[in-house]
Amino acid sequence: MAIRILTDQAPVQTPMVSKRSGIAGTLASALLSNRKALAGAAVLAAFTLIAIFAPVISPYDPHALQFEPILGPSRAHLLGTTGNGQDIFSQLMWSTRESLLLAVVAGIMATVIAVVVGVSAAYLGGLWDHVLNLVTDVFLVIPTLPLMIVVAAYAASGGVAVLIAVIVITGWSYGARQLRSQALSLRNREFLEAARVRGERSLYIILFEVLPNMTSLIVAIFLGAALYAVLAAAGLQFIGLGDTNALSWGTMLYWAQANGALLAGSPLWVLAPGICIALLGAAFALLNYAFDEIANPALRPVRRKRWS
């Protein structure tokens, strides 16, 4: 081995794909029988519905400065109003769109880069592996938040696209590292040997033989990247990067902090968006944990006990 693997936190195991029900079927049935996965999926579904129906659910225009500032919760304003007199509940519903979109898009993009870098490093081997591995390690160890802050500050007027870009740049490396480990362990399996003997091209082997066997890890990496995106975006928006006039949970927290919401006696302004960020993050984290259990049966709970 050319370079010692820096971290092997995720157990690298070959997923057990049963031939009869296929990959999708195995994943789906495993997900349904896992309580953590169910909880995560339910929260994610709820947020998706809120994002789609935000205009219907929210009672007021989220931008309109038409109410008394810092009202407590009431029937008219479920979560009260902001220091600028906007309805917090309406803002919260509309913000779901940007926050969810950002998590999913950045998560997918980071996963694609991770797959390309990780699998090609393992498959190409030699110098390519050495270089790609080194790049991965460098990105893995560089503290991401200061880097994101510098880039986002330079591109101050960029809005969501800039946020997605910095999150993807800083968020792909962890997945690439895990995928490389697993692809390496797959490389010398008999079924790949058979494909090579059949005379299949490398691209075919990677796309149709290697990748399908890594599905559960790829899904887990997407979930991890999405969680990272949720937290990173919230952090960047909280310090006022990105578009502060757009509606997102992180931006709501930015305005709450800028107006001293905690000391001004409107804790709900801080609590509500934070709980949403935490719930969305927890949904991704729970699904991720469940996938870990599915991919590595040794980690499954031994006795069925209620934990919630």
Binding site: P146, V150, A153, L231, G274, Y289, L299, P301, K305
Partner: protein
């Protein structure tokens, strides 16, 4: 010791990568933000400072990009990071040096506590699979690890400082006193640092518990653990000296790798608590678009993390004979 040589090589390459990122960023960003910054500060700072910053950001420069690059590398290696425009005329290096000890102290203490506590809890929860600890803690901390650090900080601030009034609202020591070596001052630092440290511990402990639990479960299935049980050794001895000892290694490597994440979180926690570390300085730099200060902070935080990574690598090499043989 080729393992250590390889780690040193990695250290140098990563520092070089961070330096190069710093050099390239202001040159590839659209709209020339460096120039915009200089225009805003024109007249308020000396012509020499402007000249130096033009060199740093590659403005009005007739030298080739390679000359600029080596000039920049030379300046940085000599510790000349330029002048801060926010805190003019203080050199950027001085500003950063004021904040760094606070951050290192806070993050260092919090990370060590989280690591020790998390490893212990992970070990115990794997030892008693399906027991109370195993049933409650891992899922609970998965959920907590999904909380943004800074928001948990706000929550802690709301409960313990604003509502209950047990702790101060922020800053690292009482504003009425100055930095000195006395028990009273040390008490103030501990008092003010408690809530930020608590926030970092709560959010980062979950990862340690989970990794330790999962490796420990694999280790407990090893033959040497069965052998130890068969010999009738005491459970405590098997847990700590046989299984725990071997399961801790991945956590140790993870310790170094996670520092970058922890520092990232700590930066936001500092902002919430007005803690005078580098995170707070970074926020001020962002608000006044002081790119020289921002980039130096990025560089120095990276180097601090890398030094810690290197230390953990050496520790691993010392603890785990396999890393030495693998070379």
């Amino acid at each position: 010791m080729s393992y250590i040589a390889r780690r040193l090589e990695f250290f140098v390459i990563t520092v070089w990568a961070a330096l190069t990122i710093n050099f390239i960023l202001p040159r590839i960003m659209p709209g020339n933000p460096g120039q915009a910054m200089l225009v805003r500060f024109h007249g308020r700072v000396s012509p020499q400072t402007i000249k130096a910053l033009e060199v740093a950001f590659g403005i009005n420069n007739n030298e080739s990009i390679f000359q600029q690059y080596f000039e920049y590398l030379g300046n940085t290696l000599r510790g000349d990071f330029g002048t801060s425009l926010t805190f003019f005329p203080a050199p950027v290096g001085d500003i950063v040096k004021q904040g760094l000890p606070w951050t290192l102290g806070l993050v260092g203490m919090a990370t060590i506590i989280a690591f020790a506590l998390g490893t212990l809890i992970g070990m115990l929860s794997a030892w008693r699979r399906g027991g109370f600890l195993d049933a409650i803690l891992p899922p609970a901390f998965i959920v907590i690890s999904a909380f943004p650090y800074f928001w948990l900080g706000l929550l802690v601030l709301l409960v313990f400082a604003i509502t209950l009034g047990w702790f101060p609202l922020g800053f690292a020591y009482d504003l009425s006193s100055s930095i000195n070596l006395s028990w009273d001052f040390a008490g103030q630092v501990a008092w003010h640092g408690f809530l930020p440290a608590l926030t970092i511990v709560i959010t980062s402990i979950g990862g340690w518990i989970l990794t330790m639990r999962n490796t420990m479960i694999t280790t407990l299935a090893e033959d040497y653990v069965k052998m130890a049980r068969a010999k009738g050794l005491s459970p405590v001895r098997i847990m700590f000296m046989y299984a725990g000892r071997n399961a801790i290694l991945p956590n140790l490597t993870g310790f170094a790798m996670s520092l970058g994440f922890v520092i990232s979180g700590a930066i936001l926690v500092e902002i919430v608590f007005n803690y005078p570390g580098v995170g707070f300085t970074l926020l001020q730099a962002v608000h006044s678009e002081d790119f020289a200060l921002m980039q130096t902070l990025f560089l120095l935080i990276t180097i601090a993390v890398l030094v810690a990574v290197l230390a953990a690598d050496f520790l691993t090499a010392w603890l785990d004979p396999r890393t030495r043989e693998q070379a």
